[in-house]
């Protein structure tokens, strides 16, 4: 059996002896059920944080138009003086469609726009593929681990949710 308690201290802490005993048994039961999984789940969760820390927002709208840049240096000063500078943030990617074929994924950006896709696993980037002017891209082979797509266009970066096929 276990070694004995340090008697006095133990008893001194018991606020509600019987209730605490029952509570402890119930907690012990709950912990017993999770114990075999806890270490591995925690280990994987901790290492998932290291490869990429807290993400940028899933949809990052980027600065697509700025009168200060568009107008050139001379006009920029004028615009700044007048307080009439205009900035436009745009995302031009509304959805990413993925078709799962036996040997590859075929995807499309909608509305059609060129760009690039990083296929990311928990450990890092698996592949980077080019997206053509019609928004089409191909990922080959089909990832056999959980992944997400980090999609980049000229004006937008979007990260999809994680999926496992």
């Amino acid at each position: 059996m276990n070694e004995p308690y340090d008697g006095g201290g133990d008893r001194g802490c018991q606020g509600d002896g019987e209730g605490d005993d029952a509570l402890y048994r119930e907690l012990d039961d709950a912990l017993r059920r999770v114990f075999p999984f806890v270490d591995e789940v925690a280990r994987r969760a901790k290492s998932a944080f290291t490869w990429r820390t807290v993400d940028e927002d899933l949809l990052t709208a980027q600065l697509s138009f700025d009168t200060a840049r568009a107008a050139g240096p001379a006009l920029t000063r004028a615009a700044t003086d007048g307080g009439g500078r205009v900035l436009v943030f745009t995302t031009d990617l509304q959805s990413v469609e993925l078709e799962v074929l036996t040997d590859r994924l075929v995807g499309q950006f909608l509305p059609p726009v060129a760009g690039a896709v990083d296929v990311e696993s928990e450990r890092g980037v698996l592949a980077t593929v080019v997206v053509d002017d019609l928004g089409f891209f191909v990922v080959q082979p089909v990832p056999d681990v959980r992944f997400r797509l980090h999609c980049t266009t000229a004006t937008t970066r979007v990260v999809t949710e994680w999926v496992q096929l």
Binding site: N2, E3, Y5, D6, G9, D10, G12, C13, Q14, G15, D16, E18, G19, D20, A22, L23, Y24, R25, E26, L27, D28, D29, A30, L31, R32, R33, V34, F35, F37, V38, E40, V41, A42, R44, A45, K46, A48, F49, T50, T53, V54, D55, D57, L58, E122, R146, V159, E161, W162, Q164
Partner: protein
């Protein structure tokens, strides 16, 4: 005096990429997460995958979490969703290949089919309360729950808590747990609830 950083502080630190803060969040809430997932008939591998998906979602969600104290509730909801999703996925696989490995994996779970909802909710509340304990209290309780339990000397070696302080640490942890709001609600009937291993038939 209290070595437990507030959850609000932990979330704020984790948002800035603080690995230690993230590790602490993971250590606190992994038992709760696993506890919720264990209520479903997932194979060990499905459970690990579902757990990891939940944690990945938490990472994504951290920046947008308006009220960090809602994190436990968010974890519970997300875990239930992921467990159901995993079950759905595995059912599809089984239909295609009823003799396959997945079928055997299903048998590995030791979940009690008679496990009623109330009991699951009670366990979840206790594991949520467990997250509010300090590191040493959590370590001691987790080590002691093993069957057979390790000797106090072994617990002491692994946690740095002196042998004579292990009993008191456990007692203080339980007392602290009793005061947690999520556990407090259970206390009215905890004394009359049978706690383990009884038959339902």
């Amino acid at each position: 005096m209290d070595p437990r950083p507030d959850l609000v502080e932990l979330v704020a630190a984790a948002r800035t990429g603080d690995q230690e803060a993230w590790d602490e969040i993971v250590d606190r809430f992994t038992p709760l997460l696993v506890g919720v997932l264990r209520s479903y008939r997932l194979s060990p591998m499905e459970l690990q995958d579902a757990a990891q998906t939940v944690w990945l979602r938490v990472i994504e969600h951290l920046g947008r979490l308006v009220e960090p104290r809602a994190l436990p509730a968010w974890i519970i909801t997300t875990a239930k969703r992921e467990a159901l999703r995993a079950l759905e996925l595995s059912r599809r696989v089984e239909l295609q290949d009823p003799q396959g490995e997945c079928w055997e994996a299903r048998m590995v779970t030791d979940d009690n089919p008679d496990d009623d909802l109330e009991r699951r909710e009670r366990r979840a509340a206790l594991l949520e309360g467990f997250a509010s304990l300090n590191v040493r209290q959590r370590q001691v309780l987790l080590l002691l729950c093993q069957d057979p339990p390790p000797t106090y000397a072994e617990v002491s070696r692994r946690t740095g808590v002196p042998v004579g302080a292990i009993g008191p640490t456990r007692a203080r942890a339980v007392e602290r747990l009793r005061r947690e709001p999520c556990v407090h609600a259970l206390m009215a009937d905890v004394a009359v609830q049978p706690s383990r291993g009884e038959s339902h038939e």
